[in-house]
Amino acid sequence: MQQLINGVALGGTFALLGVGLTLIWGVMGVLTFAQAQVLTWGGFGTLVAWELGASVWVAFGAGVLTGAVVCVLVEVTVIGPLRRRGGSEFSFVAATMGVSVLLGFFLEWRTHAQTLTFPREGFPTGSMRIGALTLSELQVAIIVITILVSAALMATLRWTRFGRDVRAVAESREVASLLGVSPRATYWVVSAIAGALAAIAGIFQGVSNANISYSSGDHLLMIAFAVAVVGGIGSVGGAVVGGLAIGIVQVFAVAYVSSAFQQAAAFLAILIVLVLRPQGLFGREETVRV
């Protein structure tokens, strides 16, 4: 049971990153390899703000803002133009890989490839006992925030006008614009949200590990893909479920199998889902009309 809680907490980070990825994938049809760096930049945003003397909340906000801005910039400078030039699905993969390399290198250069200490003061660091379980306050914070944010996002998508606009654009860009929805504005907002989510995940990771480096986010990218695939493209709820599931699997894998299996878990999950049920838990089956 303890492990279950650990898994859920770990999964929260995965879920946040995965939700952002599945949003971009579902609405824009783009699989962006750059999210790992967005996550890392978000973490660095908080770090920099902290070192400039900001309080915890402001630093948190700065990190989230950084993530959102970076993600929107990627959309504006690379993904958007490529879309207008009619890039194939794969050209987006290649281009965002390139962006990821560039973003990572910038951080590597500025930090001289060193791992920096991530501030912990002001973040929840204590632990508490509920019955037989020990929870760190951080874990609770992660779980709570993940649930709140996901719920808010799902509610927005389902019940607000903005949410309908997003779903319309995801369904068909042309039709949506004929109905007066601006696809470009929608892409920007979706990017901002995805970036913010990634940043939150990055900040959590930073606080958990007490450090951050230019490559902090890299191993999380594949897990985010696994989350999106397992949950189904475009499905926020699916990504949350997927993220928590993978988190749990990973924790159990480490506890009962071996730590090597932990790394392999995400990749195995992707392969299994793709072979057996490519549309994931909640995705739609894609049909092609002749």
Binding site: V78, S88, F90, S91, G98
Partner: protein, 298 residues
């Protein structure tokens, strides 16, 4: 063997040729519209297979160069049967997951030296043999390109459902190509193991993928010469300017990927790109109706 080149240059040329083989294995899949990110995995099979056979057994060199590609072909065949019906991003993800799994398995397998890898692998093919292999492969690729197999492959990439309607068995073509590409990449990995003398699991990761893909994508899908030219140019550039350390090199590839995707999403050997450039340079009066050279129409 007369020494036309110094050992240093031989090494450089061999390295270039090996990279070329990997790039071609990726390119041949692009021709059919298959975006497979599995190259790191099959190259690892080749490298580790050759390394193990060379250091742990008394098998002759040829076995070390043939057996791993055969194994990789088998693995590719099985993988292909499982996931080639997927398209686009799903295929890319599935193959990427596979490649990473291979690397993880290798990194944790103590028989294969776990994280330390294998050292002390003896020398393999000479640079001239490698050159011969590359020439043969390119010749084969050109012959196929001009034949009905080449046409069928391009048709599959352009419009698979229509290609099926005129009798092209897309599934079989894809499977065959995937298997051959796996064998080719593994062969390159085996040669690389012999060339460098050591293999370790961290050389088959993301940076290998980005490098090979950059060359293949920049080269484009119009003609195998594109990726070949891209590889040669970039490698010479890199070697002569002495960019040591993977940082700046990777930045170069990353930037190139982004820029080329924006400017020429189909790579530099895309015929329509050159037509656009020609008509832009030649002015409005010179609009040609001639076809692309994709089909080799004579």
């Amino acid at each position: 063997m007369f020494e036309l080149l110094s050992p240093y240059h031989q090494f450089q040329l061999s390295s270039l040729l090996i990279t070329l083989l990997m790039v071609l294995s990726v390119s041949m899949l692009f021709e059919a519209g298959i975006f497979s990110l599995a190259v790191g995995g099959v190259v690892a099979i080749g490298g580790y297979g050759a390394g193990l056979l060379s250091t742990r057994s008394e098998m002759p060199l040829m076995v070390g160069l043939v057996a791993p590609p055969v194994l990789a072909a088998l693995v590719s065949l099985l993988l292909g049967m499982a996931i080639l019906r997927l398209r686009g991003i799903y295929l890319a993800l599935g193959t990427f997951a596979f490649a990473q799994l291979v690397v993880i398995v290798i990194a944790n397998w103590s028989f294969a030296g776990a994280v330390d890898g294998i050292v002390g692998i003896g020398p393999g093919l000479s640079v001239w043999s490698l050159l011969g292999v590359v020439v043969v492969i390119c010749t084969l690729m050109e012959l196929v390109r001009r034949s009905r197999f080449g046409r069928a492959t391009r048709a599959i990439r352009l419009d698979e459902r229509t290609a099926a309607g005129v009798g092209v068995d897309a599934r079989r073509y894809r499977l065959v190509l995937f298997t051959i590409a796996g064998a080719l990449a593994a062969f390159a990995g085996a040669c690389d193991a012999h060339l460098v003398g050591v293999v370790s699991s961290d050389q088959y990761g993301f940076s290998l993928l980005v490098t090979v893909f950059a060359f293949a994508l920049i080269g484009g899908t119009g003609h195998w010469l594109g990726p070949v030219a891209a590889t040669i140019c970039f490698t010479l550039f890199r070697q002569s300017f002495g960019y040591s350390g993977s940082g700046w090199e990777q930045v170069g590839y990353g930037a190139a990927l982004v820029v080329i995707m924006l400017v020429a999403p189909n790579g530099l050997s895309d015929p329509s790109l050159w037509r656009r450039l020609r008509s832009a340079a030649g002015g409005p009066g010179r609009r040609r109706v001639a076809a692309s050279s994709v089909g080799g129409t004579r």
